[in-house]
Symmetry: C2
Subunit: 152 residues, 2 copies
């Protein structure tokens, strides 16, 4: 797999952030994600749709994965997400052999990314201040909705 | 949580099996699932829809979870599935605190159910011969499709 330079990681995170901001504007859970191919092409992007579609199964990462359509292999692909992936989304990454995860922030929520690293996934945490600020604002205003979205 | 008697477990598995059979008839991946509430009411049911909808994100368990709609808590619920849940679906169970998993068979594929048991989920494996036979027939005829569905 090609090494990931920080400029590319930040550019990819910008795609996920656009999704998260759109989710925030819709009154949804503001988490966005995008799946990039081994060649750097955008395969799919999406955002949490619990509120918008009444669909608890659509987290940002599963939305991006779905949008990418059927793929024979995920070797070399990168899942970019504004927030540390929960166990559901971490399981997605592990099961399908997605090679790398780029995470906007893991401060407001810490999911399964250490587990992924233990199982050979390359994990990059960017500590992006906009991602942190968006989640802080959202969770302060919507604690019940956020609890529902992570099963707590 | 109420203990689960075997007759109920088998009756719940029959719901998941109906979904799996329907998937088989549609040319899809024949895995079915159902989510039952703490009171024994059916909350949602579904099947793998990779082939039918071109949607790699819809495994049987995530389909049943979606069909159940938004729930504030999954305490006391049971996910019934014809096949041992993959990491993706095991992650779903763990993240949302689904209390119990009833599994038709774990012979043709062994997912993350031991991990779930380690994390406090009650796991019941039924060793159902119809579930085994259906997966054996499917994987023998469609090795590529099955590999795609589990990222191998």
């Amino acid at each position: 797999m090609r090494p990931l330079d920080e400029a590319t990681a930040r550019a990819w995170l910008a795609t996920a952030l656009e999704e998260a901001r759109a989710g925030m504007a819709e009154g949804g859970v503001p988490v966005g994600a995008a799946l990039y191919g081994a060649d750097g092409a955008l395969l799919g992007r999406g955002r949490n749709r619990r509120v918008q579609d009444g669909d608890p199964s659509t987290h940002a990462e599963t939305a991006a994965f779905r949008a990418a359509g059927r793929q024979r292999s995920y070797r070399g692909t990168t899942m970019v997400t504004t927030l540390s992936p929960c166990w559901y989304c971490s399981g997605l990454v592990r099961q399908f052999g997605i090679s790398r995860v780029v995470i906007g922030e893991a401060v407001t929520f810490r999911g399964g990314h250490d587990w992924l690293a233990e199982h050979g996934v390359e994990v990059v945490v960017l500590d992006d201040p906009e991602c942190v600020a968006m989640m802080r604002e959202f969770t302060a205003r919507n604690p019940e909705l956020w609890g529902e979205d992570i099963g707590e």
